[in-house]
Amino acid sequence: MEHGSFTNDSDASFTLAEEDHTLANAVRFMLNQDPRVTLAGYSIPHPSLECVNVRVQTTGDPAREVLKDACQELMLMNRHVRSVFDKAVSEFKVEQARLAAEEEEKKKAEEEAIKKQRDLLASMDIESD
């Protein structure tokens, strides 16, 4: 829901229903980053009502377009975060698996060395007997 004026569409307030700080703070942050925006803020009229008022004032561009762009950028940012996170986690898991495999190999090598020593000692004992 947009409360603006018919003549000047660069300043407007938007009411988002069923939203709270979760989306409003994120959108406000993205709006502030946009150089076309002179004022961006949000308020929650009453905590029991699930609605948020977002105020956008721009340097000429229609406020609704700017808000849409901010939401788009937020979405793209989220996608990027998700992909980077997934990649980092999978790389870490691969790295861990590789390290675990290396450690196991080392252990096996050590055990084999110990076995060889034991066999050697055993054979020496037999010879001395």
Partner: protein, 412 residues
């Protein structure tokens, strides 16, 4: 060029090259002119300075035109963000349920959003309605019901639908568990643990009372197909609570509890029992800087002062020692190292000791967050569909994306 007496100026020949060079010349292009913000402003923008009494510069400078006076653009464009954003996974525990990772290049507002969505908007399954048939224990009905609600259930909430007030509870939105515990007379006290909760895939067994004696008995759920058939994940893997050893109640001799509990899908915002995580917290990366060389006697005091072992002594030869910052990550900003009268000897000769706050700078990096997530065990390790913290995080970001899409759709 020879100058004639009487003429004030020397005539110079200016070539075309020099003219264009003069037109395009910008003093900021010279190699040794510093660009960007002056260092003290950069410090204010990117670091929280933790002084003795309180931290300063905590608010992040968000407005894109904040530094227009200095000619610096503070806006964050998506390309810059994509280049600078990094995630470093520090640790994943062995059972995959504990995750520690770093996020670099993101602002507190965005970070807080992930946190919000992660804890409050991710759905899980938890007991909502508890039908108590018999309860002769000392634990009251409502207390027992509240305890049941907090028991975590190992079921993937993605497989189920939300149950609203107008819906009938059926196999797609409810999980039914039964508990029947008895302590016989003559036995000692008995503990009722969550492993005694039995899953009923065919729905509720309690019969609703209805006035008509001839109609078919109705139960509290209208289940058309057994859940074992409709969900292939549960065919050989019965649904159980996440941990079998949670204490629900204690029974004395002769006490009995018989109840049926229905679990539905919900989000953490409605009630804390639907929280998907046991612990989720984040903090900004601490940065500890020694502003001047801390040598000899002072090093001992510094290293001893810190309870997290952030500082370390470095031998420089000739018996001289120097303090260095070894593990700044461990710093909890307890400020023991900058506290004035910690372990100090009183100097009798009146030599003014420099205040410790001027030697050690405690800061936090605003763009760098350390995140720790510890999730409830959602499914047994052998089965598919597990929800470890990394999957949960991805889900949370997806939910945020959906919200944005909804707003965009409404605006168009």
């Amino acid at each position: 060029m020879a100058t004639k007496e009487g003429e004030g100026e020397v005539k110079k020949i200016v070539t075309e090259e020099e003219k264009t060079f003069a037109k395009n010349f910008n003093i900021m292009d010279l190699a040794d002119i510093p660009t960007g913000l002056p260092p003290h402003l950069q410090l204010q923008r990117t670091r929280v300075l933790c002084k003795n009494d309180a931290p300063i510069h905590t608010a992040s400078v968000v407005y894109s035109g904040a530094y227009n006076g200095v000619g610096v653009d503070n806006s964050v464009k998506l390309e810059n963000f994509s280049e600078n954003f990094k995630v470093d996974v520090i640790e994943i525990s062995n059972d995959g349920m504990e995750l520690t990772f770093d996020m670099i290049g993101i602002d507190a507002a965005s970070y807080n959003v992930f946190f919000f969505v992660f804890t409050m908007q991710l759905p899980t399954m938890a007991f909502e309605k508890v039908f108590i048939a018999n309860n002769t224990s000392i634990v009251q009905d409502e207390v027992l019901a509240q305890r049941m609600g907090l028991v975590p259930i190992a079921a993937d909430p993605k497989l189920f639908e939300y149950l609203s007030e107008n819906d009938q509870p059926n196999e797609k939105n409810t999980i039914v568990f039964k508990l029947h515990a008895k302590c016989a007379k003559g036995e000692g006290r008995k503990k009722v643990l969550t492993k005694e909760l039995i899953w009923l895939p065919k729905g509720s067994e309690l019969v609703k009372e209805s006035g008509d004696p001839n109609s078919k008995p109705k139960t509290y759920t209208s289940v058309s197909r057994s859940q074992e058939e409709s969900f292939p994940e549960f065919t050989d893997n019965p649904i159980t609570p996440s941990y079998p050893d949670i204490l629900i109640a204690k029974l004395g001799p002769g006490h009995e509890i018989e109840l049926e509990a229905h679990a539905v899908k919900g989000i953490g915002k409605t009630h804390a029992k639907w929280l998907p995580v046991a612990t989720a917290w984040y903090r900004m990366l601490p940065e500890v800087i020694l502003l001047r060389e801390v040598e000899d006697e002072d090093t001992e005091r510094l290293v001893e002062a810190c309870p997290e072992k952030v500082f370390d002594i470095e031998d420089m030869g000739n018996g001289r020692k120097r303090a260095t910052v070894a593990w700044p990550r461990n710093c909890t900003l307890c400020r023991q190292c900058v506290r004035e009268n910690y372990g100090e000897e009183v100097k009798i000769e009146g030599i003014q000791r420099e205040k410790w706050i001027e030697n050690v700078a405690l800061r936090r990096v605003k763009n760098h967050f350390i995140f720790l997530l510890f999730a409830f065990l959602s499914v047994k390790i052998e089965s598919t569909g597990s929800l470890p913290p990394d999957v949960l995080f991805t889900e949370a970001v997806k939910i945020l994306e959906d919200k944005c899409e909804r707003v965009i759709a409404n605006l168009s």
